[in-house]
């Protein structure tokens, strides 16, 4: 039988360690980024709806004669909301969907680290959402003639990146929680969406909520991130700010580490549970 059959291909050395980690991150980010490209109509829709929400607040603020800075606050808040929605609805439920399609078992079985898979999802989500956020910012700023006064650009960049890191760290953590809790987590996210809109001050300075409510709201990384960004973007931002920028940066950094460590631990726990009980990797057939 087929004695002269030649091999289909020769074995090659494969990446391992940190190179495998990076390859995995990039490969898992890829479908997110490309998928975005292939469903362009959604971008228009998302941007349009966000601008609509922003406009509503702008009109209310102008009607009640709120300070003009509030308009800029709302536009920046609207842009950052895109990331929050991405974390809440896409990132959090991602592992759940991966389970349903049978990908999760393949990811766990592969020699890569699951943390790389999650980071890849996050990176893909960030890149895909950045486009929407930028569009919202641009359209909103032009539409409502928002004036920015950036004094400290490096600080702004650091705050922005740290906010995203903490936000997606939260997303990575909740991805495992969603998988473990299933439908219940779903309902929870649904319930949480509106109050969080209010609490994290997407559309107004969080300081207005009072100190303790603002502290409680700070567990959502977007709260402090937005507050710090507004302080760095608008001349009167500092006066409306909740805490000083350095303090907010420090808290964000702590949240970031906290969420990432928790995400890693939960992933390990999820995998151990799955292998022991044999239930989590069952895809719906």
């Amino acid at each position: 039988m087929g004695s002269e059959a030649r091999p289909f291909f020769a074995p090659v050395p494969k990446a391992s360690g940190w190179r495998l980690f990076l390859k995995t991150v990039v490969a898992r980010a890829y479908p997110r980024v490309v998928g975005q490209q292939r469903e362009r109509s959604w971008i228009f829709f998302d941007v349009f709806l966000s601008i609509l929400a922003v406009s509503a607040y702008v009109f209310v603020y102008r009607a009640i004669g709120a300070p003009e800075e509030y308009v800029g606050f709302v536009v920046v808040g609207g842009a950052m909301t895109a990331f929050w929605l991405n974390v809440l609805w896409s990132m959090s439920s991602q592992l759940y969907w991966e389970k349903e399609s049978g990908n999760l078992a393949l990811y766990i079985m592969a020699p890569n680290s699951m943390m790389a898979i999650l980071l890849g999802m996050a990176l893909g989500g960030i890149i895909a959402t950045a486009l929407r956020a930028a569009a919202i910012l641009l359209v909103g700023s032009l539409l409502f003639h928002v004036q920015y006064a950036v004094g400290n650009l490096p600080a702004l960049v650091v705050v922005f990146l740290l906010t995203l890191a903490a936000l997606y760290g939260l997303g990575m953590m909740s991805a495992s929680l969603f998988l473990l809790w299933g439908r219940e987590a779903w309902h929870l996210a649904n319930l949480a969406q509106e109050p969080i809109y209010l609490l994290s001050g997407f559309y107004f300075p969080v300081k207005n909520l009072g100190f303790w409510v603002a502290v409680a709201a700070s567990i959502i990384p977007l709260t402090l991130g937005l507050d710090a960004m507004r302080q760095l973007l608008f001349p009167s931002g500092a006066a409306l700010g909740f805490l000083t920028v350095p303090v907010e940066v420090a808290v964000l950094a702590v949240l970031c580490v906290l969420f990432l460590v928790a995400a890693r631990w939960l992933l390990g726990y999820m995998e151990r549970m799955a292998i022991r009980e044999g239930r989590l990797l069952e895809s719906r057939r």
């Binding site: 087929g2 090659v12 049978g102």
Partner: protein, 338 residues
Amino acid sequence: MSADLAIETQNLGRIYTIRNRRERRIRKEVVALRDVNLQIPRGELFGLLGPNGAGKTTLIKILTTLLAPTTGWARVAGFDVVREPHKIRPRINMVSGGEASGYGLLTVRENLWMFAQFYGLPSREANRRIEELLRRIGLADRIHTKSSDLSTGLRQKMNIVRGFLTDPEILFLDEPTLGLDVNAARDVRRFIREWMDAHPDRTVLLTTHYMVEADELCDRVAIISQGRVLACDSPEALKRRLQRDALFDIEITAPNGLTSSMLEALPGVRKAVLTDADGGARLSLILAADSALPGVIHVLTERAVQVRHLTKREPTLEDVFVELVGRPLAEEEVADGQ
């Protein structure tokens, strides 16, 4: 334990505990596997043949480090599945029938590329292999098709390619031709056979409930039912067990209340299986000797059952299965093969 064994299991067992959703104290236990002892040398194409719920997928999950055994142990490529999964994972891959893996928005090439990256395959090599494998399995013209636009058969071909792409030392195929039409199934089987011929040091473990697949394809077959391995040998050797027996197929018009247990009560009748066939029924008999046939005919005549056709035939794997398990693999398959 030998270095040449790709897979070895010892008294392997798995019990699933199902908790009641409302009352956590209420538990049910399902024994999915019990005392499975297998030794599969490198280079073998090994088949697991069993009906639904036999424990095939459970065994594959344990061997692919996705499920912990509750008793016994298993080694894959020489490593323990519980203690050394990280050593096993780079060396294996798995494809399941009817799986919906990957992302529908990506093309065939992109999906395959992505999975290759998770194994650390260099991108250029991955793309070269993807083209080569797609050509061999007959999917080359769909390389740029979005995977959501593929039919079931083409999709499964893509999945199969995913498994081979990383050149695994040991590949697990869980019902790879499930739901495929005759042509697609044949393509997949030919592809697997060619791979084994071209890579004699690679091992494939495949599960199936198609007789022909096990018979044509596998070097050795384990017949598994209700979590137990009932026999394990080459298809030829398994069939040889029945060589001394006489096998008859009798087509009848209507059973008229005849049951297989009535016939099995007769001396010399080792197994009788009654299945529906178009416009009547078919009686498959395993007799200890030809001399038991008149007794059967006598019972048929007594019940006024009309015989339309009677054939004596060589044993098939299906007969081995019926002999061991006590019933055919799946009713409809007795009638039309696959």
